[in-house]
């Protein structure tokens, strides 16, 4: 574009957001990376470099593998996040596909209904589930009586223990992140060429076969985008496990914030954060790749 390259306009437009992001995002991030090689001391601020013989202290990273608290936290996070992503896909995929099959006016209203919870407070949605999962709530009583009619009398329960379990974390994560799964999937499924389905039907495929052979393979980019949008934030989630999770089996977000605030061990907190980031690099790059591809496609469209 030529029109900006006059009178320093372009420099201002480029430099302002650039500088902002460098100062408030890149530099803090680099500080965390550097901090992970520091040693914890009792000074204020509580870290210093060069306490050991080497200028860089690798003991924080060694501790990640020695203390099984960290490995357990990582495994719990990954397990919960993967489970939530999978359930989101199971619930969200039929919904997204269903959205493409209803009439246009109904579709707009239903899409709005998918987005609406996203605009209301995240915290209040978690809170809604705390109410539902409590032992004397109508939801828990309903579940309990359904369970009691199904199992033999000896197994009957007064109430089902839902709060402060990994199950609760997965359930609330699915609830909170479901729109992130539905929307990219819908955007992908909506663009699919319906004539392909019709051709497959005409050639004698049964509807489920058509789904397996045509729709599912074509929707893989949508599945990946939606899956990563759920998996990445779910892994580092702090609020949900903090409110409904099992405190004796913490996820990695909790560990980072505890190391920092309660233990005042900034270097260790930074090392755990860097380790989480390294684990997430693969999924993140995958997402960026698919996102860039989608943007390119969008730019190519008339």
């Amino acid at each position: 574009m030529r029109w900006f390259n006059i009178r320093g306009w372009s420099d201002v437009t480029i430099a302002t957001p650039y500088l902002w992001l460098v100062i408030f995002f890149l530099i803090p991030f680099l500080i965390v990376v550097a901090m992970s090689f520091a040693t914890r001391t009792t000074t204020s601020p509580p870290f210093s470099f060069g306490v050991t013989d080497n200028y860089l202290d690798f003991r924080n990273y060694a501790r990640l593998f020695q203390d099984d608290l960290y490995i357990r936290a990582f495994l719990t996070s990954i397990k919960n996040a993967a489970m939530a992503t999978f359930v989101c896909l199971l619930v969200g995929y039929p919904m997204a596909l269903g959205l493409t099959r209803v009439s246009k006016s109904a579709r707009n209203i239903l899409l709005m209904l998918v987005i609406l919870p996203f605009w209301t407070s995240f915290l209040l949605r978690v809170y809604a589930w705390i109410g539902l999962m409590g032992t004397n709530s109508w939801f828990n009583k309903l579940l309990t009586s359904a369970y009691n009619t199904l199992v033999p009398q000896a197994w009957e329960l007064n109430s089902i223990h839902l709060m402060n379990t990994n199950f609760a974390v997965v359930l609330v994560t699915v609830y909170s992140y479901l729109p992130f799964m539905i929307l990219p999937l819908y955007a992908n499924l909506e663009k699919l060429d319906m004539t392909l389905n019709e051709a497959a039907m005409d050639l004698g495929s049964r509807p489920f076969r058509v789904f397996l052979d045509v729709t599912l393979p074509l929707s893989v980019p949508g599945i990946i985008a939606g899956g990563l949008l759920v998996f990445i934030p779910a892994c580092g989630e702090l609020v949900i496990p903090g409110l409904v999770g099992n405190p004796s089996n913490p996820m990695i977000g909790r560990v980072i914030s505890d190391e920092f605030a309660s233990a005042r061990d900034w270097p260790m907190a930074s090392a755990v954060a860097v380790a989480l980031l390294i684990l997430m690099v693969g999924p993140m790059m995958l997402y960026t790749y698919y996102d860039a591809k989608a943007q390119e496609k969008k730019a190519m469209e008339p």
Binding site: F24, P94, L123, S137, W138, Q295
Partner: protein, 283 residues
Amino acid sequence: MKQRPTFLITALCFGFAFLYVPILSMIAFSFNNSRLATVWGGFSTKWYGKLLSNDKIIDAAILSLKIALVSATVATILGTMAGITLARFRRFRGRTVLSGLVTAPLIMPEVITGISMLIFFILIATMIEKLTGLRTQRGFTTVTLAHITFSLTFVTTIIQSRLLSADISVEEAALDLGSRPWQVMKDITLPIISPAILSGWLLAFTISLDDVVITNFTTGPGATTLPILIWSKVKLGVTPDINALATITVSIVTIGVIFAGIAMNRAERRRDLDAQMAFRSNQ
């Protein structure tokens, strides 16, 4: 050949029930007379009265709105600049770095963003104290700076994708016809992206209003935003006045979304009409 996708319709019904039953339950129990948040004890609106007379909650809500207004506005300005840069400038030094800086906060786990900003702010504060002897505290300023930083990337993405799908030849034609660069900006580029700017601002506003994790790390004593207050209350257990607060939030959002939907529908219809008129007068 049209067959009713029964399974998909059933899935939609169950999905929406899953999404809305908790919210509806919360609304119902906000009118509960009982002190227990989830056991029905008759109709009452007392929790609304309790909520509105709670100064702590009102103060926190005002603080949250202030932070959201300031941070959404600054983030929209910066994000629009970054969006125009990424969509319209083909080549400049450090382009890859900028696009990386814009996507990274979007997908970075919030805990990491929060902790890196906290460490940054603490170090800056110690530096200020060493240099000038002034003791600074984290609070409104630090929270606002943090909110601007991570919501500006959402604005950038919206603006960028709007500009990428817009026709660049209109801007080039205006230049060829002798418009000055700022005229092109004012008369063509900004009008094209104005809906994107508005939705970017709204998104930045709600993100700021809703944020818990990053606020929790960057806030200081005396600056309790509404989400932080709710968080500390909910940690202690379920209380019925939060149900009332949730009902108010949901109502405001629903009304807002319905109005936005109507306005967008109207604008679309008017655009269609204009296009038809232009088409006819050309014939």
